[in-house]
Amino acid sequence: MADANQDSIQVVFQDAEAAVDAADSLSALEEVRILFLGRKGRIADLMKELKSLDEQERKARGKLLNDRKRILSSKFDDKKLALEQATGVDETGEDVTLPGTQFRRGRRHVLLRVMDEIVGVFNQMGFDVVEGPEIEDVFHNFEALNIPKSHIARSPEENFFITDDYLLRSQTSPMQIRIMEQSQPPIRVVVPGRVYRPDTVDATHHFMFHQLEGLMVDKGINFADLISCLTLWAQRMFGEHTKVRFRPHYFPFTEPSAEMDVSCPFCKKGNGSCSVCGSTGWLEIMGCGMVHPNVFRAVGYDPEVYSGFAFGMGPGRIAMLRYGIRDLRHFIENNISFLEQF
């Protein structure tokens, strides 16, 4: 065994440090580690030689060895980190194009999500959101809404009567009456919910559907307020550049009445035929109007003092228009192939 003097220690460590520097891969670095820092490595040999020295020498040399070893270890760790960062964490490497592990993601139902969105815009405009009963009495569903017994809308074939006096509501408008009965103006409220009307079931008709009703009552509310409110809503729902138009129409519980159309977002107006709007360039979205004085009288509001507007729309139709859904039976079928698209 050669003399384990200071010089040979220096040499070993110089060699080690040079080898660490020179290592150009993690596997090469591992070889360096085994060679110098391993159990049978050169530094281990140096440690063995300490046995043959006397106590004073052993202490001094031992300290020197440990200090140098600590420095080398640290250098080794730095080099390893640098090599890892350069080549990627794991040299063996996965095929990064493999598909990710699937986890189950549920969905809101598209129709109910659209309903929430519609309601959300009105909520931001200061409208409270309330729900009303689905089983209504004839006073709230008809009489108070200025629909007398003789009106065709009241006939047994046009409704789902449970008894002579109770039926499944044919519109969400009865809740307007309940709200006005329960509180005093000012009122600003929207009412979402299910409504029922006998109908044959096909791509565009069903006996059960959703409606959203709105009501605003105060002193001095006029037709311009109605037009402004709904125009602002439409622009929030369908885009800033959406145009709207109001066509005179008829509802028993509003006068003047109107239907609101929005500009068809799908067609370039007048340019050939559009399957969505039938090339009129307009899509009918909702009915609206100024609350009829008879409705106010039915709830005990003085129509000379108070005025207001009401509106009603079908979120189902809006969802169909927006997403290009052609058959509303999809909504109620709840086939996952449909639900998962939204």
Binding site: G106, E134, F160, F161, V201, M208, R245, I332, I336
Partner: protein, 670 residues
């Protein structure tokens, strides 16, 4: 209602092409849907709203155009002369039920030659989708579509006894109508009869026996008004409707009944020859209503936020044939004509002015007054429910409120009163209003299974319908949250726990075994002593009834009761900064020992320093014995203010072990 473009032009001047005309009519409230070219003419198909039955005649549509253009309307003139003979007498026509027939007129034309109508008349009818038959029938159709007044022509010589009797049908009376079908009538129905038999179903269809034929020479022209509801009822009951019944159901102008008859008679005389014999018989018991409505200019301005000139207002009103009876600085009063039963109040006149002037003239405001809506804590909580369920992989569904009758026995967990039903369900076998959402979800699961979607996780939030007792006014509509999935009972419980956790419900739910037809191995869940819901596996019979191959785990909760346990305020709790120590324990107990009992005992014995008891395994083995099981759990010890010493922990652990041994006869497993 179909309008002919050329026909409208006969009454009022306008230069608009058909598309422009359609647009103008639409923007005035008479919505034109489609335009079709028919020969040289164009057919405009419009939607007539139920408040304007008068729009079922061309003259009324022409009136709208007159109001929009400001041009005069030219009504047809009558030029025929009457022969002063009296074949018809006051005894010729009898009205037995004046309520069902408030006005009946009859006129006689003698010496008519039945032939084809002239080309112009045929063209008009073809444009609006009618088939020309012969000159007399064509004229009745023409005038019906002109005046909105149905007319009927009888072959006078075929009327037995030369009489017309307007009466209710006799029991078992029958008639063969002009459609060649025989109809059985009843005393609720009104008929036009001669001395012996019914010759027409009043307002609906004429009889074949007295129909105008090639040989007819004497025409009795009927023009009448019938009770709308009675005509509707008869039409529905016989399953028979016509252009006539359609108009009578919606209401005709009683005051114009004779004018329309005169127009028809005039046309027949000029086109088919003949002479009108004597005066018209007119049995009129109607009382014309005198309605005056006042429109105040201030009211108009306020309602529309629009300034409309006085002369514009007056011009609009008078061109709509609303005669101005008084006008002054404050406003104007009009007399409501008989063809406008929809006009009753000032608001109705405001609408007339607004729609003719144009809704587009009303200015939109750029902003809307601010109001902060009421807070809606239920909506916020509902959002959490949706987040948790969609996050756990459930698809929200929206299903029919009506349930298949065959599933009725599976919806009694909340309420065992009979399910409500409607009188006229769309499908007889699906007539019940559901009391629970779970059966519906099972059916949706089946549909998805059949479509190839296994392991579906579905949920729905909707109302169920519970009869309180015999009193229908005590119906309740609780909102339910229901979900199902292909998972174990404990996995389902995990979803429920996640939901309770997300809602920050801190009270411990209590689960008790329960039995209901839709479940096997089910439990009820209670919070604060109230039953909030149920969970369990679908029972075999329920799955079979639903047509399901799988048996998903089900859960249904009452939203209102669930939300009632959500704390109003969430409070921060100090984090424990000192490390916890976990000690695992596995015990062997009798099968009938519930986890709840173990947990309760351990918690009680462990006290405050036992922060958590974490169950992690249930194990059974034949080696243990048939009625034994092993429960394994971790005990988490932690103090808020110090690191616990081994001695402290050992003390507690030993106390726990000894109480388990003593109270539950547990054996400790290594």
């Amino acid at each position: 209602m179909k309008y002919s473009y050329q026909w409208l032009k006969e009454y009022v001047d306008f230069s608009w092409a058909p598309e422009e005309l359609a647009n103008r009519m639409t923007m005035a409230g008479l919505e034109v849907g489609t335009l079709d070219k028919v020969g040289d003419d164009v057919c405009l198909d419009a939607e007539v709203t139920s408040n304007r039955p008068d729009w079922n005649g061309h003259l009324s549509a022409a009136r709208e155009i007159s109001a929009l253009t400001g041009n005069y309307i030219q009504k047809p003139e009558q030029t025929f002369a009457r022969v002063s003979e009296n074949i018809l007498s006051s005894g010729s026509v009898t009205v037995e039920d004046a309520k069902l027939c408030p006005r009946y007129t009859a006129q006689l034309i003698r010496g008519v030659t039945i032939k084809e109508s002239p080309a112009w008349l045929q063209q008009r009818l073809l444009t609006i989708g009618l088939r020309p038959i012969n000159v007399v029938v064509d004229v009745t159709n023409y005038v019906m579509h002109e005046y909105n007044q149905p007319l009927h022509a009888f072959d006078y010589e075929k009327l037995n006894g030369s009489k017309i009797i307007v009466r209710r049908a006799n029991k078992e009376e029958t008639i063969t109508a002009i459609d060649e079908k025989e109809y059985r009538l009843d005393p609720e129905m009104l008929v036009i009869a001669d001395a012996d038999r019914a010759v027409a179903i009043a307002g609906v269809m004429g009889g074949a026996a007295t129909e105008i034929s090639q040989n007819s020479t004497m025409v009795l022209m009927e023009s009448a008004a019938f009770h709308p509801l009675n005509i509707r009822k008869t039409s529905k009951q016989l399953g028979l409707s016509s252009d006539s019944s359609y108009r009578f159901e919606r209401g005709v102008d009683v005051q114009a009944v004779l004018e329309a008859s005169n127009r028809a008679v005039d046309l027949i005389v000029s086109l088919a020859g003949g002479e009108v014999v004597g005066e018209a018989i007119d049995i009129n018991t109607s009382k014309p209503e005198e309605k005056i409505i006042t429109l105040s200019y201030r009211g108009l301005r306020r309602a529309l936020s629009l300034d409309v000139g006085v002369s514009t207002i007056e011009q609009i009103l008078s061109s709509l044939d609303l005669d101005i009876v008084d006008s002054h600085r404050e406003g104007v009063s009009i007399k409501v004509p008989s063809f406008r039963p929809d006009l009753n109040l000032e608001v109705d006149l405001i609408e007339e002015v607004a729609r003719i002037h144009g809704y587009d003239k009303i200015e939109t405001k750029a902003s809307f007054s601010v109001r902060v809506p009421r807070a809606n804590p239920t909506a916020d909580k509902m959002q959490i429910v949706h987040n948790v369920l969609t996050g756990a992989g459930f698809y929200e569904c929206m299903s029919d409120s009506f349930l298949l009758n065959s599933m009725d026995q599976y919806q009694n967990m909340w309420n065992d009163m009979p399910a409500l039903s409607v009188r006229n369900p769309v499908r007889q076998e699906q007539a019940l209003l559901r009391k629970s959402l779970l059966p519906s979800l099972l059916l949706l699961c089946k549909n998805n299974e059949n479509a190839g979607h296994r392991d579906a996780r579905l949920y729905e939030v909707a109302h169920a319908y519970h009869a309180g007792d015999k009193e229908i006014s005590k119906i309740q509509e609780p909102e339910l949250l229901s979900f199902l999935g292909d998972m174990s009972f404990l996995e389902m419980k995990g979803v429920v726990s996640a939901l309770l956790d997300a809602l920050h419900i801190s009270v411990t739910p209590v689960f008790e075994p329960v039995r209901h037809a839709i479940f096997t191995n089910a439990a009820s869940m209670s919070l604060d002593g109230h039953c909030v819901g149920f969970l369990g596996e679908t029972s075999k019979p329920a799955a079979k009834q639903a047509g399901l191959k799988s048996k998903p785990m089900l859960c249904e909760l009452r939203i209102h009761d669930l939300f009632a346990s959500v704390p109003d305020v969430l409070q921060y709790q100090d984090i424990f900064r000192f490390p916890p120590v976990l000690r695992d324990l596995a015990i062997l107990v009798d099968d009938n020992v519930r986890w709840q009992d173990v947990q309760d005992l351990v918690k009680k014995t462990g006290g405050e320093l036992l922060r958590e008891v974490r169950f992690f395994d249930l194990y059974r083995d034949d080696k243990m014995g048939a009625d034994k099981k092993s429960l394994a759990f971790s005990l988490v010890y932690q103090a808020p203010d110090r690191t616990l010493t081994t001695a402290e922990i050992d003390k507690l652990q030993n106390a726990i072990v000894s109480s388990l041994k003593k109270k539950l006869s547990a054996a400790i497993r290594d």
